[in-house]
Amino acid sequence: MAETLAEKIIARAANRKKVCPGEIVTCNVDLAMMHDSGGPRRIKPILERLHAKVWDADKVVLVSDHYAPAVDAESAEILSLTRKWAVENGIKNFYDQQGICHVILPERGHLLPGMFVVGGDSHSPTGGAFGCFMFGVGATDMASILITGKTWIKVPNTIRIEITGTPGDDSVIADGVSAKDIILYLCSRLGVGGAEYQVIEYAGDIISHLSISERMTLTNMTAELGAQTGLIAADETTFNYIRQTGRKQERQVRVDNNSALQSDDDAYFSATHKVNVAELVPYVAMPDSPDNAVTIEKVSGVQIQQAYIGACTGAKLEDLQMAARVLKNNTVAKGIRLLIAPASIQTTAAAAADGTLKILTESGAILMPSGCGACAGYGAGILAEGEVCISSTARNFKGRMGHPTSKVYLGSPYTVAASAIVGHITDPRKFLNGDRK
């Protein structure tokens, strides 16, 4: 009987030959990831109440990113508590202010195709870019996983999204159009919650040509579609990335029947959507929801005060490189602040090494520490009353980045950078003409 990739991974984790959509099964968790906000400060009291210990410290990854770096006494306490808990519980995989969890996990070699991974954060579907089944839970679920090593799951159906087109030599989609534009377009088409907590599996010739970074942008924002997770079957691109991070391929968790780590050809999909990117243009999500996305010309001219390139979605090395292509030989408009928070310290180092940071900082961009910061309204870079920001992040819910009356537009790093140059939302493609010739 044909199976989807998600069913194969879940069946293996549940010690079952196969699983059926709709049934509730208990799965062994291969890796549990949590951060400073939903992590120790929430789960420590639960573990103490139950006199319980972490089931397997080596299967836990802890990342301080939400309140990093501390901006006041409370956030300093949260970070301190997180640090102490990591030591007390022997958590070796603890990354203290090294970057954002969803970028740290693959960067430090924790994700391998076929793994069943649970993250204490809603953008955990990012891990699906590596062929993992990775989904988000709250802190109480995470505490239960830390104690038992298991969690329940209602086996989800899978929606297949085929992304097709003609990949070009210089750019996979079209110059100035990125994975962020694909996912914003999908948000407008399917709506937030449109996936009804099913799995979305991305396939098609555009996907096979997309880099790992761009795949991560897609699976990351699959959360915005209301999916339990996003998935992309592992291929040579995935394995090449994993080899770079120093993990041995034989450590891959393989499904029992030794079939390739992908959905069977005749697997059941609850829906199949086809997207041809030939006509795709830059997309921007208007306030206050990611599904309020429209083509760039509909919002062109909207005045901004802040432009933000940051978060797990939009501040990986390739995202910074996109911004740099636009900002090269340009400067940020007077009265506009362009804040750039690279997704991790490794991202910053790589961007420094390849000259990207030089271009960004020379344009007048303000470099910020790696962390969740402004995106979730937790840290530095939040908005004042009535301010408008264009952002490469994932969410623009009302008041998310600061004052309840502030407004957030979501766009690609290209669009954010171009808008910072002119002071209002603008099509980035006019800044790219000919720079690769």
């Binding site: 939903g38 956030s75 104690i147 329940w152 919650g193 339990q228 309204g377 819910f397 008041g399």
Partner: protein, 175 residues
Amino acid sequence: MKDKINGGKAWVFGDDIDTDQLAPGRFMKASISELASHCLEGINEKFATDVKTGDVLVAGKNFGIGSSREQASQALKHLGVSALVAKSYGGIFFRNAINFGLLAVVCTQAKSIQQGDEIAINSEIGTVHNLTRNETYVCEKLPSQLLDILKHGGLIPHLEKMLKEKEQMDQSIRE
């Protein structure tokens, strides 16, 4: 069994109420009582101050969409909300609600519920009763595994009970 019935006055909200409305990011460092006092303030300023123990929150589709922050469901529990009736939920929020012992039922028929209606829910049978309008709506029945968690008051008391039982069993084997 009295724990089967949850009920009170209805607070009616629309579609796509996100976690940032339920638990605004700028109060996430604060205590749950401080955070809860800002719950849904961007949509209905009176909710957090006027909601009474036992009241029921009624919403459209995608209630609790967005973040994994479980303070979104914890805040509602803290304010005394006894149950949620919505067309659909954000997947993580739904798990979090059950984990806090907050009954969350999926009910597509409950369109006629108005602000202030008296509502009673029987989660075992899967019905929502509008006592003000004398109407009954069928809702999706929760799986028995989730009803068990709710019966114990949430995932942690449920886990506590399971761990105790395991300990007793281990002990009796040793003896």
